[in-house]
Assembly symmetry: C2
């Protein structure tokens, strides 16, 4: 049986609303109105149309619909990488909220490359995404900020919204929504926790100037040291990106390059902490018996290595981003939200006995 409409040259093509109208014996407009449901129609006609739709297996053409002025109902998200659990959880939140609001979700990965990121935003603009959510930190030189501000304005002009998720504002005159979480506060809290346990020489892993997230966490670390009257030693701040193997590398290098002059480690995220922990174990050092270790993010694997860390509401971050963007039409919606963080104490930090450095406690029998 040849149910499918066929053009004169014999090739199959997707069913159109015209085919449905013909099949049901009504006009195109009637079909459109019945399908959208926003119009009175005789039950008899409705049934005819619905039957035709079923029989021809018709689905509307989203392009034509979008062109005809219906809101495209899609939300775009741009992340560095999907595999990083941090981004994945935020992305899940975006997904959830988008689905809940009946929106489709477009996703692009930038690999942390500003150039790619801008290219993706351009694509999203072509697609007329209702909102574009940018997740995560990125190197922010002035030229880039300026270009991003331009895109924000272009999006706003097209009735769309730029949402910066977990990265700082571009300035008050840029039409962008910002959803952040308290990096500095979280880092301050966990550093204070280490200090309260008696640690005074705390290694910071993952310093990276020019990147907003590690910069804020480093700021919190420094502020906590200052608040407790502890000296600030730049030699304890190790540079590296926020990946697992970098954590391993940073710790290895530090252990190889001289005496161990620290008793605790604050890794600027859980991945770095995991890498560092592995390097410590390779060296025969146990966490927390020999070295205390703290992270940041509290993603599921943190529980496996009993890591004391800072909990970030990743999903909530993504959800809020979408919610604000879609609500932002009505006046009075917040344009800037700062989500709180929460200290999660597990078993990777141990109080330091009041012993001088270097006197290692012997293994208990």
């Amino acid at each position: 049986m040849a149910r499918r409409p066929t053009s004169e040259d014999g090739r199959d093509r997707p069913t159109t609303i015209r085919d449905v109208a013909r099949h049901a014996g009504v006009s195109v407009a009637t079909v459109s109105r019945i399908l959208s449901g926003t119009y009175p129609s005789a039950p008899v006609t409705r049934h005819k149309v619905m039957r035709a739709v079923r029989e021809l297996d018709y689905v509307a053409n989203a392009h034509a619909r979008g062109l005809a002025g219906v809101q495209p109902r899609s939300v775009a998200i741009v992340v560095n990488s999907v595999t990083s659990p941090h981004y994945a959880h935020v992305a899940q939140g975006v997904q959830d909220q988008a689905a809940r609001e009946g929106r489709l979700c477009l996703v692009g990965t930038s690999d942390g490359d500003p150039e790619r990121e801008l290219a993706i935003i351009r694509l999203m603009r072509e697609q007329h995404a209702e909102a574009v959510v940018l997740v995560g930190n990125i190197s922010a030189d002035d030229a880039y900020r300026e270009r991003m501000a331009g895109y924000a304005r272009a999006l706003a002009l097209a009735g769309s919204h730029l949402v910066l998720c977990g990265r700082p504002s571009l300035g008050p005159d840029v039409p962008a929504i910002v959803v952040e979480y308290d990096n500095t506060g979280g880092a301050h809290a966990i550093t204070s926790h280490l200090i309260a346990a008696g640690h005074t020489r705390i290694l910071f892993l993952g310093r990276r100037d020019g990147y907003s997230t590690p910069e804020s966490r480093l700021a919190g670390y420094r502020a906590a040291l200052a608040a407790h009257g502890l000296p600030h030693d730049p030699g304890l701040e190790i540079e590296g990106t926020m990946e697992r193997h970098e954590g391993h590398r940073m710790m290895r290098r530090r252990l190889d390059s001289g005496p161990r002059d620290f008793t605790a480690v604050f890794a600027s995220n859980d991945l770095i902490a995991a890498g560092a922990r592995q390097a410590l174990r390779e060296e025969g050092l146990r966490v927390p018996d020999d070295i205390s270790l703290a992270g940041f993010d509290d993603l599921p694997p943190a529980a496996d290595i009993d890591l004391t860390t800072v909990h970030v509401q990743h999903k909530e971050l993504g959800r809020t981003a979408v919610r604000l963007a879609l609500e932002s039409e009505r006046p009075g919606t917040a344009k800037h939200v700062l989500l709180g963080t929460r200290l999660v104490i597990r078993d990777s930090v141990r109080p330091l006995p009041a012993l001088p450095d270097g006197a290692r406690a012997p293994g208990r029998p």
Copy 2:
């Protein structure tokens, strides 16, 4: 300066190709051709047009373009959840390949609900996605399979392609591409590895009938037992889903419910293994000293807990899916690919000394 085109009622609206043409003093067709680059044009005209595009910050309307018959160049991926590392890695592969081929990526999450999955596919059909990649296992009753087959045919008719990624074929008459990896082989290999270490009573965690992935892994486990002439004890196969907390639950319950009658555990994925490991530790049992543990997937956190597991090329899976779909126009492209797996030996399995069960070695001083 009012660079932006404005309609007669004074409201700003996005720039169209008509505005560009007017600004450059040429016709609409000329602009279109110069932008697509597929036509000779005088350099002087090209420059005028390009300048207008820059000055007006014009981007084409993807809907109009799609409607006019240009391939929409987008790839869709449907996963259970983005946060699960397994799916995330496959999704990353899909992303990579899609980006490399200049495609945009749509993503939908089904939460494992067949109903939602079908709804998403319908959406993707409306969007005219070039390919729809379905990732991961799902309960496959006959009604569902039939419906899915229908969608596959509908997609094929619209010039699109359904790709089943990591799940079995729907049958030879269904126009779908299948990219799988060798679940049974991998499970067989790692079970044999445990057996070779002397283990004969191996707990299987994560049995789930009707779901293709755990079923295949269970099949490999059973086949390995049979191949070594070991008895098959259904009591050693614990049912549960493939999540971390389920691993914890299954192991807890098993430990609570009677004597420990196994010396090794094969978890049907790494997450279950992590959960089980935690439950074992809570009980004072150490891996691998007291119990050997093996997983499946080899996702990054596996290294942190020194887990012996089966490596799956997740990214490659995603990449291959997209590649095959986009290449499938030319004849001679494979319609079914089976990727191999590889045993990764770390430190969670220990040879079993020839001691009778119950004689626990005392803690060394």
